[in-house]
Amino acid sequence: MDKGLALRDVTITKGGVPLLSVNHDIAPGEVLTVMGPSGVGKSTLLAFITGTLAPDFTATGEVWLDGDNITHAAPHQRRVGILFQDDLLFPHLSVGANLAFGLQPGGSATERKAKIEEALNEVGLGGFADRDPATLSGGQKARVALMRMLLSEPCGLLLDEPFSRLDAALRAQVRDMVFDRARARQLPVLMVTHDADDAQAAGEVIVTLGG
């Protein structure tokens, strides 16, 4: 398999105790959901894929993205996007500057501005570029975080309990928005969650850990 995100015999241990093992290929546009109660180390799997695993964990196995082995690549060269349960917008940058941080370099200032405005329009936030992210509502922040990540043109998408901080009404809306865009861009998605609704909404392969 060429395109997509492949986890080959990935095992993560802490102090010699195995936490989880995953061996799975995620095709473009497909969602793999990793379920399990909190504390089984679901997030360490994502940290391993982004290259930010804490030194007290050890991992074996390989991560392949679109045919490249990225197991040992530097975090910023992996082309893997990630969304956390918190929006984690950079508080010192305006909404527009947050998106510009994500947007791949290139193009004139006007073109870049236009792309950012277009991205904001796409999620119903036209004219928000100069706003302070701290003044946005939870749902608005989540949408900005999503667009910031998509503008960096990742080849795979990781979701770390991304909807658990949103209230029920907003949750389904943001969730659909994320999955729709991931499918439209043919991104392989890996989601970790402890929420059965999220897993069902993703509607595809589910791996359950621990418990």
Partner: protein, 564 residues
């Protein structure tokens, strides 16, 4: 420059900058103390320097002064801070004290000491305000208050400055001690506020603030500038006498000075060991007190007493600054008038040019040293983050080491060593010596906020393809602007306040506001002292104000960083 190779050596470079001069200085003290000083044509080993030292008639009193001021200043300021925190944390008066903390901390020791002297001397402001109505004095009474034989005023001068320092340290430790809930539980069990706090929170807080307490003890035992201003003269405390010996034109006197420096080191180590045993004893007594189940009948009285003591400390420093200001503008001011006959710019015209020159030297040294310390600190913390290093509790003690070794034990040796190596005294060696004291404070000030930064921000930024340096410069440092500027201000204030390092390593040729101000102590020209003391305070205080102001302006439209 290749960051990848450069960054990992920064922690080593930092340790070298911090501990190198200390080790070299101790070596430079050890040799002459045993009679070896080739520069003066003397070769050892011999015990003559110690024989001379023990022949000095003032020695027992000088040693006693060092020990008594150290133990008294440390235990009294610790007691005040613990009891205020126990009785008042979370209340309105406590928040008022908290707000005063930064300005109180940044007032240099020398300026606070001068202010205290101008307040409580027989001809000081307090006596003037009370005379002649209350006291009946129409001339200053013939009392030895400032520079008293027992060093009590000097001890008080140390206490007023150590209380804000220990309070700051305690506030930082409280966050991790789960204080509020512990006190709530013990109050529900019928314990008074103070007793409940002492029995449940104090042991945890004390374990955390132990290193800075040891620093206060070592510092109070060997302080020079405060002792010159407020301490006794005949004989002076041991550290002041060591500096006198070291400044003697007769090189042979350096041997006696070096022997004294080793003795001072021994005294400090002895006092630290004594304090450690005291901790065990208090711990045993405390365990018994807890087992007794006593609920604390005197809590109210104790709390009020502690608050009064803390308020007196704060007022001493603040009113001291007021009286320095009045003197700096005073025309004729006869006793017992409460205020001068006239206010005038004359003192500022007269001493202004001199202070500006000293301010230039002070600023040049302080800015250079504080920036170097900041860069080394950020480098160390970033190396720790990138390479997943973690410093053990033991490594934390390394940070405190340069603050625990008495200045008078290694600075004279450093000066002697530089002389015998033919190295020139002057500005750059002074900067290196300042760095020894500035680095630990800058590091301690920045480490917690730097480590508390949400590292998921880094993960996100890297996932958005920002390189490690990009994450540092574009995300982490801007987000940490406020703590970075605060750390810089702390570094500047520490450098501005350095007396002994500037005096000894500068060979008397580097004139900063602090050395100039302390030099005025013996002359007793209160107008000159007022001008220099205020300038010294301003040099330390303005950076703190800027550290608050700049982030507020730069991030005025960024709500998420307003309390970060």
């Amino acid at each position: 420059m290749n960051r990848r190779r450069f960054l990992p050596i920064l922690p080593i470079l930092t340790l070298l900058a911090m501990l190198g001069p200390v080790v070299a200085g101790l070596w430079g003290t050890l040799l002459p103390a045993f009679g070896h000083l080739p520069a003066a044509g003397l070769t050892g080993p011999s015990l003559d320097p110690f024989r001379d030292l023990f022949d000095w008639a003032g020695l027992p009193r000088a040693m006693f002064l060092s020990i008594s001021t150290g133990l008294l200043a440390t235990s009294i300021s610790l007691a005040i801070v613990m009891l205020i925190t126990a009785g008042w944390s979370g209340t309105k008066p406590f928040r008022a004290l908290e707000r005063l903390l930064s300005p109180l901390l940044s007032v240099p020791h020398a300026a606070a000491a001068f202010g205290l002297a101008f307040l409580i001397a027989p001809s000081g402001w307090v006596s003037r305000l009370l005379s002649p109505v209350v006291t009946g004095w129409d001339r200053p009474p013939d009392l030895l208050i400032v520079q008293d034989t027992w060093g009590l005023t000097m001890t008080a001068g140390l206490i007023v400055k150590e209380v804000p320092f220990l309070l700051l340290i305690t506030l930082a430790a409280l966050g991790q001690a789960d204080a509020q809930r512990s006190v709530a539980i013990s109050q529900a069990l019928g314990y008074g506020r103070v007793t409940g706090w002492l029995k449940t929170v104090f042991p945890r807080v004390y374990a955390q603030i132990r290193p800075p307490i040891y620093v206060v003890l070592a510092y109070s035992m060997s302080v020079v500038d405060v002792a010159v201003i407020l301490g006794p003269n005949t004989p002076p405390s041991l550290s002041v006498q060591i500096v006198k010996w070291m400044s003697d034109p007769d090189l042979a006197m350096r041997l006696e000075g070096a022997a004294g420096a080793l003795l001072q080191l021994g005294l400090v180590i002895g006092a630290l060991v004594f304090w450690r045993f005291g901790e065990f004893a208090i711990g045993r007594l405390g365990a018994r007190w807890i087992a007794s189940g006593a609920r604390g009948k005197l809590d109210g009285v104790v709390a009020v007493g502690a608050l009064a003591a803390g308020t007196i400390c704060a007022l001493s420093v603040l009113l001291g600054l007021v009286v320095l200001t009045i003197w700096s503008f005073a025309g004729f001011w006869g006793f017992p008038d409460a205020f001068p006959d006239a206010f005038t710019w004359r003192n500022w015209m007269r001493f202004g040019p001199g202070t500006l020159e000293a301010l230039g030297e002070t600023a040049l040294i302080a800015i250079t040293v504080a920036l170097v310390a900041l860069i080394l600190t950020i480098g160390c913390l970033e190396a720790e983050y990138r390479f997943g290093l973690s410093f053990s509790q033991r490594a934390v003690w390394l940070l405190y080491l340069p603050l625990l070794i008495p200045q008078t034990a290694f600075l004279p040796g450093l000066q002697t060593l530089m002389l015998s190596l033919g190295a020139d005294v002057g500005r750059i060696p002074v900067m290196l010596a300042h760095l020894v004291f500035v680095l630990p404070y800058v590091f301690l000030s920045l480490a917690d906020p730097f480590r508390a930064w949400d590292s998921r921000m880094g993960t996100i930024a890297a996932a958005l393809r920002a390189s490690p340096n990009g994450v540092l410069w574009r995300v982490r440092l801007p987000m940490l602007l406020r703590p970075i500027l605060t750390a810089l201000a702390v570094g500047l204030a520490v450098s501005v306040g350095q007396y002994l390092a500037t005096l000894l390593i500068g060979g008397g040729r580097v004139a900063t506001l602090t050395t100039e101000a302390v030099a005025l102590a013996s002359g007793g020209d209160r107008r000159a002292i007022g001008v220099y003391g205020l300038m010294q305070t301003g040099a330390a205080l303005v950076p703190f104000a800027l550290a608050l102001l700049i982030p507020a302006v730069v991030w005025r439209n960024r709500k998420g960083l307003r309390h970060g």
